[in-house]
């Protein structure tokens, strides 16, 4: 049984997650980015929105480590403060789709029947909707809006969580401990949340990191197209697209936000993999 589901499973393959030092390093970097996201405005050496119109597009100097942008704003400070939006949006999406996905997944996986088929039809439908297409159409109609994009991504990522959670729940339901709880007369709600969910949680958490990483990339892409964060926001994707045209004047101004996007997404992906491998194998043993 276990082997057969393994083959059908769409879950990520094993033996890829970082170990030891590497994962420690990932957590340190993630902690650093989180720290920037929370305390960025305090840490930034200059006001990220302060303009120096006499000193636009300057190269790196002792005063502006990464130079200035077209309004003479300090790129270094903006990159630091950019962590805020860079982390916040994807975090909201990861948490939002975690909540929706877990509720629906548990419900559908445990109850089965019409609930299950209804939820799964919805999942299938959303599954075949291309995310970027929806984001571009919505932003084109309503205008660039970061939070609209975040909202849409919550809705579009939730089916991803739902499908995975439901799968894991269905694996758990036939197990003896569920049967036992049922015979003792524990209520369905208690079984789902107190007995099944703790066994499902590691997968769900691991998955959330992947949702985080992919949302980060999606939001940055939308900002890059000019359809995400409004002009002037210290947002990595927007900074990249604005500084792209000035790549020859000050390359580090383009490099810095690009690097932040890649590093943050990489770290989130690696931590997700690590969670998946270690936590699930440990929990699975029980």
């Amino acid at each position: 049984m276990a082997r057969q589901t393994e083959i059908v499973s769409t879950r990520k393959p094993r033996r890829y997650a970082p170990r030891g030092l590497a994962i420690g390093f990932c957590f340190v970097v993630a902690g650093g980015i989180l720290f920037l996201a929370i305390f960025g405005p305090l840490l930034a050496p200059q006001d990220p929105n302060a303009q120096h119109l006499q000193d636009v597009l300057a190269g790196p100097s002792s005063q502006h480590w990464l130079g200035t942008d077209s309004l003479g704003r300090d790129v270094f400070s903006r990159t630091i403060v950019g962590a805020q939006l860079g982390v916040l949006g994807p975090l909201v999406i990861a948490v939002g789709s975690f909540a929706i996905g877990n509720l629906l997944g548990l419900w559908a996986g445990y109850r089965r029947g019409w609930v299950d088929s209804l939820v799964m039809r919805w999942v299938d439908l959303m599954w075949s909707v291309p995310t970027l297409l929806v984001l571009v159409v919505a932003a084109g109609a309503v205008g660039a809006s970061y939070w609209l994009a975040v909202g849409l991504l919550v809705i579009l990522s939730a089916p991803f969580d739902t499908r995975i959670i439901r799968g894991v729940v269905m694996e758990q339901v036939p197990r003896p401990y569920v049967e036992a709880a049922r015979t003792v007369g524990v209520s369905g709600r208690r079984i789902v949340f107190l007995h099944i969910w703790p066994n499902v949680a590691p997968v769900a958490i691991a998955n959330s990191f992947l949702v985080f990483a992919s949302s980060l990339v999606a939001l940055a892409g939308l900002s890059f197209l000019g359809l995400g964060a409004p002009p002037g926001t210290p947002d990595w994707g927007l900074m990249l697209s604005e500084s792209q045209a000035m790549l020859f004047v000050n390359p580090v101004a383009t490099l810095a936000p690009a690097l932040m996007i890649v590093v943050t997404a990489t770290v989130a992906n690696l931590i997700g993999d690590w969670f998946d491998e270690y936590l699930t194998s440990r929990m699975g043993a029980t």
Partner: protein, 319 residues
């Protein structure tokens, strides 16, 4: 699975396609309808406007009709495969799409081939060299590649390989044939980066899994060459999971093309999507949205069918 199961399977999926068409077209229509400003405001832009001209344009684009009537008029034409004319360019939507689709498909296929060749090749290599230097380098590259958005890769590829080292052209789709491939190389590489890393990761894991199976250990113990082991035992067994994700990948490449096309100024469907969405070019936008979702659903369907054929265990399960 007999032919009856197949028929239900395929027709169910096609029914889903129709439902999706209706939902998407309606939502797109409604979004454009409720968002501030109309196509008349796009066309007349900042010019002085007379009431007569505004009225004439409103009538021409049926903006004077109620929402549901407008939608119904569109559906009626769309059912006859008449998607109208683009408001921006005045050309028939189908012509515009036809002119751009080959480029986008070629870009997608090019990136797909790059993905598969490099992903599977390096994945097998890394698995066979497990925990050696090659493996570690490949894995490290994959880790970054997985999180490298195509537009970031695109910007830097453009900077390095089109400007600093002018080996590749900086824009456009070329004049057909080899020239087009030449033009699409950098965009395809940018687009393939993430997906290749993804395939690599899966291939490496799958091959490692197979390599630990008794029959492979035995085959190697018998002294069969690596090449033969790969061909006969490893690939056949390891590739089934790769096949499943390959369909998803193709959809990803088609949609992900939007960002790459914008970065490299390639006249493809993605560019058309962004342009028509930002210019409220509703007929064009509807056409593109339906086309892209149709391609994605059909590719997914195709993958599932191939997968069902390839893996008999699933057929049993479905039956």
């Amino acid at each position: 699975m007999d032919w009856k199961d197949w028929a239900t399977f395929v027709s169910k999926r096609l029914a889903a396609l129709v439902v999706l068409f209706v939902v998407l077209s309606f939502v797109t229509f409604a979004l454009m309808y409720v968002s501030p400003g109309t196509v008349v405001d796009v066309l007349l832009a900042g010019r002085p406007r007379s009431a007569a001209t505004v009225h004439a344009l409103n009538v021409e684009y049926h903006l004077d009709k109620p929402f549901m009537v407008q939608y119904w008029m569109w559906v009626r034409d769309a059912l006859r495969f008449n998607f109208g004319s683009s408001i921006q360019t005045t050309l028939p939507v189908t012509d515009e799409i036809k002119a751009r689709l080959p480029t986008s498909l070629l870009l997608g296929v090019y990136a797909y081939v790059l993905t598969m060749v490099s992903g599977i090749g390096l994945g097998v290599l890394a698995a066979f060299r497990n925990k050696r230097a090659v493996d570690r380098v490949v894995v490290a590259g994959t880790v970054v590649g997985l999180s490298m958005p195509s537009f970031v890769a695109g910007v830097f590829l453009l900077f390095v390989f089109a400007v600093q080292l002018p080996w590749f052209p900086a824009f456009g789709k070329g004049d057909g044939g080899l020239d087009t491939l030449w033009h699409l190389t950098l965009p395809a590489v940018a687009l393939a980066m993430t997906s290749a890393a993804y395939v690599l990761k899966h291939t490496r894991a799958a091959v490692l899994g197979v390599l630990q199976q008794d029959y492979v250990v035995f085959a190697r113990a018998r002294g069969l060459s690596n090449g033969r082991v790969i061909r006969v035992y490893v690939l056949r067994n390891a590739l089934i999971p790769i096949l499943t994700i390959s369909g998803v990948l193709f959809s990803y490449l088609i949609v992900g093309g939007v960002l790459v096309e914008m970065t490299f100024s390639i006249q493809g469907i993605g560019q058309l999507l962004v342009q028509s969405a930002t210019a409220k070019d509703l007929p064009m936008l509807q056409g593109v949205v339906l086309l892209v979702s149709a391609v994605i659903i059909l590719v997914n369907l195709l993958t599932d069918v191939v997968y069902l054929i390839a893996d008999p265990r699933l057929r049993l399960k479905h039956g």
